[in-house]
């Protein structure tokens, strides 16, 4: 019973628990219920990934078959996304009593958990659905929930950050909706598999190009591809720390999924890269994102803002991977999606630990942190090494595939640019390490973060090493996903 309905349960469970949570006023009950839901979803994601990585699971919602009903499909790519979203949620929700709750008035915690679960359900829904209109609906569910989550930040700027994100997000979502409408008009169906079959017949129509443009631009706004990234730094900086960790690790990743699905599954590589040469647009933007994002990160005075700009650079790597449109490059893009989720999620949790104890995330005020919070500072160091892409960390695996992809395409200059931009990451990571380790703290009393914050943080940080050494669940799944995407188009 559970076995055969897993694709539905993973979406329906958090969606049903979220409204229940609105009525659960008890702080601990609400929390336990939310954590249990996230873990349950992670369990479902793991069980599905075991099957789906070799044979995609097809599921008809409510027993209605595909053209009439809504089909859910779980293949290697979607199961990777499901693993990331539910996995990061499972780690972030139990994280500490502090950071997530500090920003919210006492007694309203249940609403935080309700929004969190809705956001998670929306993000997983995008990854799992095989229906194009459903993508839009889930996109808006997750977006509405994430605006709410960001607005829960302590500073009043969180409100403005949430509002700007709402405006940008709605514009992006509406563009996507318009693109979906055109695809529907061209093909007469919303089922992705059917669209993929019928689009080649109308590939020469100008409407096809407009539809592709709308879907890619709409997705890029949500993904924060340079220069559409303006909403991201404020949103990540002023959101409650646990929310930043969750959204940075999952929100943009799912938009990446939408763009990749659109390009590879619906429109096809030969049209997008063969006829239209979209890579001529995407590659320069990706390179700009890598260099501008990293350079901006170097000059930030606030840790959270530094991580936000670094995210923009990392998104550049992912876009570069998809623009290569070959096995190694696409694998690199997709595996970086997983690795970056783990690394950035971990680093945002490190910052959450720091702000919980030090009440600031300004780099200058954190001199000698290693003497006061040794384990937290060490977590920054390890996560930072992962971000740079030092061998034996997860970041190295992604950059290895990306460089291989660039060489396969004969883009030697770009392979060099990937290495060069990693050096910029060395600068912004090391700048903070220097402040933490080589400055004297004015007060040396021990202020280490409590265990319930350290354990989730170190869990994610440890995963960056695990994914650097043991790759079947990251690079293995990503390479199967890439092979499937390239074979389909």
């Amino acid at each position: 019973m559970i076995q055969s309905n897993m694709p539905a349960l993973i979406i329906v469970t958090p969606m049903l628990v979220a409204p229940i949570l609105v009525f659960v006023r008890h702080r601990i009950v609400a929390r336990v219920l939310a954590i249990a839901t996230a873990w349950w979803c992670f369990y479902l994601a793991v069980s599905m990934a075991g099957v789906a990585q070799d044979t995609p699971i097809a599921y008809d919602m409510g027993g209605w078959e595909a053209p009439l009903g809504i089909a859910y499909t779980v293949d290697a790519f979607s199961s990777l996304l499901l693993l990331i979203v539910s996995g990061i949620a499972s780690v972030v929700l139990p994280f500490g009593p502090g950071s997530a709750l500090l920003a919210i008035p006492e007694g309203k915690n249940n609403l935080f958990y309700a929004s969190f679960l809705m956001c998670m359900a929306g993000l997983m829904g995008i990854a799992i659905t095989g229906d194009l209109f459903n993508v839009f609906v889930f996109l808006e569910i997750s977006s509405l929930a994430s605006y709410t989550l960001i607005a829960m930040g302590k500073s009043r700027r969180a409100l403005m950050a949430a509002f700007s994100y709402l405006v940008m997000g709605t514009i992006g979502g509406t563009f996507t909706l318009l693109g979906i409408g055109m695809v529907y008009q061209l093909t007469g169906t919303l089922n992705m598999a059917d669209i993929a079959q019928r689009l080649p017949d109308v590939i020469d129509s100008p409407a096809t190009r407009v539809a592709l443009a709308l879907i890619v631009v709409g997705g890029s706004i949500k993904l924060a591809v340079f220069p559409l990234h303006q909403w991201l730094p404020n949103a990540y900086t002023y959101a409650p720390s646990a929310v930043s960790a969750f959204l940075a690790a999952t929100g943009t990743k799912v938009s990446y999924y939408v763009i990749v699905r659109g390009i590879f599954t619906l429109f096809g590589v030969s049209f997008v890269f063969g006829t239209l040469h979209l890579e001529r647009l995407l590659v320069p933007l990706a390179l700009l994102a890598m260099f501008v994002g990293s350079t901006a990160a170097i000059f930030q005075t606030d840790l959270k803002r530094l991580l936000a700009y670094s995210s923009i650079a990392q998104i550049g790597y992912m876009v570069l991977g998809l623009a290569m449109a070959n096995q190694a490059g696409l694998t690199g893009g997709i595996v970086h999606l997983a690795n970056h989720a783990v690394i950035k999620g971990g680093l945002f949790l490190v910052v959450a630990c720091i702000t919980y104890r030090m009440h600031t995330s300004k780099i200058d005020e954190l001199g000698g942190l290693a003497q006061r919070m040794p384990l937290t500072a060490a977590a920054w160091l390890v996560g930072g090494l992962g971000m740079i892409g030092v061998p034996t960390t997860a970041g190295f695996i992604s950059k290895w595939y990306l460089v291989m992809g660039a060489i396969d395409r004969g883009w030697y200059g770009i392979a060099f640019a990937i290495l060069l931009s990693s050096l910029l990451a060395v600068v912004y990571v090391w700048r903070v390490v220097e402040v933490f380790y080589f400055r004297e703290a004015s007060d040396k009393s021990n202020l280490e973060a409590p265990a319930d914050m350290l354990v989730p943080t170190w869990f994610l940080i440890a995963m960056t090493i695990v994914f650097g050494l043991y790759t079947p669940w990251s690079a293995g799944l990503a390479s199967k996903a890439a092979a499937l995407l390239l074979a389909a188009s």
């Binding site: 509405l144 605006y147 509002f163 709402l166 405006v167 709605t170 509406t174 409408g181 529907y184």
Partner: protein, 122 residues
């Protein structure tokens, strides 16, 4: 450009109007209005898409008895019911954020808010 595509022109005009308002206005409530017009443009696009020339409402009359009834495509309309709900939710959330912004800053003008934020940094 033939005139039988006037509905496309109409929805694109609405789309641009909405987007222009979002970009050009400093008042957050006006921005929300622009965003609404922007969304309505797409709803308009979908609804006109479903129209079949000469088609009636997609309800099979009781006296049809197997006669072919020409009816408009109901699917885009149904899709738009969902999109309208999304639009209402977005507007509600946006407006409640504006209320909170007004409480926190004492203004709902974006340039004022940017100025207040800059002063705070010093």
């Amino acid at each position: 450009m033939s005139l039988d595509q006037w509905h496309h022109i109409g929805s694109i005009a609405l789309l641009c109007t909405g987007l222009y308002i979002v970009i050009s206005r400093d008042n957050l409530v006006k921005k929300m209005m622009g965003l609404n017009i922007f969304q309505v443009a797409v709803i308009f696009f979908y609804v006109t898409m479903g129209k079949v020339t000469g088609g009636t409402a997609p309800i099979i009359p009781a006296d049809a008895h197997g006669h072919e009834v020409l009816y408009s495509n109901p699917i885009p309309h149904v899709l738009m019911l969902t999109a309208i709900v999304v639009g209402v939710a977005t507007t509600a959330l946006g407006l409640s954020l504006i209320v909170r912004i007004q409480e926190a800053y004492g203004t709902a003008e974006e340039d004022e808010i940017v100025r207040l934020d800059l002063e705070e940094i010093g």
